[in-house]
Amino acid sequence: MSRVAAASPPPRSVWDSLNPVRLLGELSETRYWMYLLLLPSALLITAVVLYPTVYGFQMSFHEMRLNRPALGTGFVGLKHYARMVSDPIFWTSLVNTAAWVTSSIILEFLVGLIAALALNRNLPGTKVLAVLILIPYFLPNVVAGHMWALMLDPRLGVINDVLVRIGWLESYKAWFADPTTAMGAAIVVEVWHSFPFFTLLIMAGLKGIPADLYKAADIDGAGAFSQLRLITLPMLKTIIAAAVILRVIGLVNSPDLLLILTSGGPGRSTQVLSLYAFQTAYKDFNFGYAGALSVVMFVLLMGFAYIYIRLSKVNQD
């Protein structure tokens, strides 16, 4: 159809100048077409990401309590930030966040790396295992949380039963009710849920390493561990850095799993910053303070990302 139009442009009828298909076709030939294509998504992201974020920053300097409208929404300066300094829960959450993120990341990376290295040998029959190993990553937090809560239940948990049978435990343990084990148990669930992310990315990275490197190392008599240390890990550096950044963002930002498993308890033993901010908003309706907490979290995360990227670049040189 368009070929005919190009060969001998027919006179424009009224219908033609209103025909949306034709109008769009002509619009697509203009210089600004690529920007027009981006416009809808850019507007949407501005509306649902940028605007709320700016609003959130601004909110952190205002009084905003939904359940106490009498207080108004006046400007209170740095009040919320000042309160944070003397808020013991904030400091506990900060320490817990550090513990939660570092332990989870290290374990997820190690398990993910081992799984990827094993899968990368392309042994017969392991394709099915690869699919099984990736499944947890796609499961909802709510279901992952319930599955493990059931298995770790103090009265009918199958993990308790197994551990007692093999003699590692005297009796059933209430993993999530004991402040000394709650964080550890939650980290186990988190690692189970998210290590496949590392497996996925590392597997993709492994495919890009030329086999010649390993052949040469073989001839030089380098063992498996030196090959891992001297070839595999350096070659994977960029992808590992990207995976770590993305996972850290996820771990710091989303309180979902801890909200489902422990709600921060017992005591404050699993209270992390994102969870504290969410509960301050969701339970106490203190939006101003919740906003300030999330701003601090955001700034810390940006700082971490900046330093981490700088460091991994320095190492590359």
Binding site: F57, T126, V142, D161, W192
Partner: protein, 281 residues
């Protein structure tokens, strides 16, 4: 020398099998156990002696979940929210991905980076203002409002992943169509979209799974049965009844069936897409 090398290869192969079998078991066991729980009778769940191989089976938990807890409504709400999210991403994100993939223009790198950086913004920081804004626009507690909120973290992901698939589609066919007089938009819809069809489907599935699974936004932005999604409803049952494990297990199994089916169908393409986007990013 050659002897020791092949024997060390054998040792590592065995180690790899051992690792994969153990990990595969650990990954699947919680699912299997939850499924077993969902078809056990109450006396076999709440028992002093752990029942590993139940001999009595029941579908009672599923029936009760479906008839008593309003689960069909929750599933329906989730379906609507998920579909709307995917549609919004398709409508706005696919053309953005196409633009990033096919054109070189001033500000392209910065814009692409911008689409990546917005993923760093804390959900909590956005949720609170979104709550206020949506309340002002009457979008609070509606499936549409929730879907719009989901695009905040899913649209950038969608664009990046789909761009990878568009990049992989050869540009020659498109040029040929252009020479034949097709407009840019014509070439896009008639040539590129059909070629990248698998990638488009996989990207949609990835976004659909994420929207289907989402918990935090739904918890904050829905307040009634009218728009509440299944993860929120399922979590609320924990408080409502005295830890109804059979029912929770049944709800979990029902809700992850679509995820597992979709994942199995497009698993290979989707995995390629996730990793391609991440490698380049």
């Amino acid at each position: 020398m050659a002897q020791t090398r092949s024997s060390s290869k054998l040792v590592w192969d065995i180690a790899a099998y051992a690792v994969l079998i153990v990990l595969g078991f650990l990954c699947v066991f919680p699912l299997v156990w939850t499924f077993l729980t969902s078809i056990k009778v109450e006396e076999d769940i709440v028992t002093r002696e752990m029942v590993y191989f139940p001999t009595r089976f029941t579908f009672d938990w599923y029936v009760r979940l479906w008839n008593q807890s309003g689960y069909p409504v929750l599933v329906m709400n989730s379906l609507i929210t998920t579909s709307v999210t995917v549609l919004i991403c398709l409508a706005t994100g696919s053309i953005a991905a196409y633009s990033f993939s096919r054109f070189n223009f001033a500000g392209r790198t910065q814009l692409m980076l911008g689409y990546l950086v917005v993923r760093m913004f804390p959900a909590v920081l956005m949720i609170i203002p979104l709550f206020i804004v949506m309340r002002n626009f009457g979008l609070l507690d509606s499936s549409w409002g929730l879907a719009v909120a989901y695009t905040s973290f899913l649209l950038p992901l969608f664009v990046w992943m789909l761009k990878g698939f568009f990049d992989a589609a050869p540009k020659e066919l498109e040029s040929a169509a252009r020479i034949d007089g097709s407009t840019r938009i014509g070439a896009m819809f008639r040539i590129v979209v059909p070629i990248a069809r698998n990638g488009l489907v996989a990207t949609c599935v990835f976004v659909a799974i994420a929207a289907w699974n989402e918990y935090l936004f739904a918890l904050m932005l829905t307040t009634s049965q009218g728009s509440r999604t299944w993860p929120v409803g399922l979590q609320l049952m924990v408080g409502e009844f005295q830890l109804p494990w059979g029912m929770l297990a049944a709800g979990g199994i029902i809700s992850i069936i679509p995820v597992i089916v979709l994942f199995a169908l497009v698993q290979r393409v989707m995995v390629a897409g996730i990793t391609a986007g991440a490698v380049k990013g």
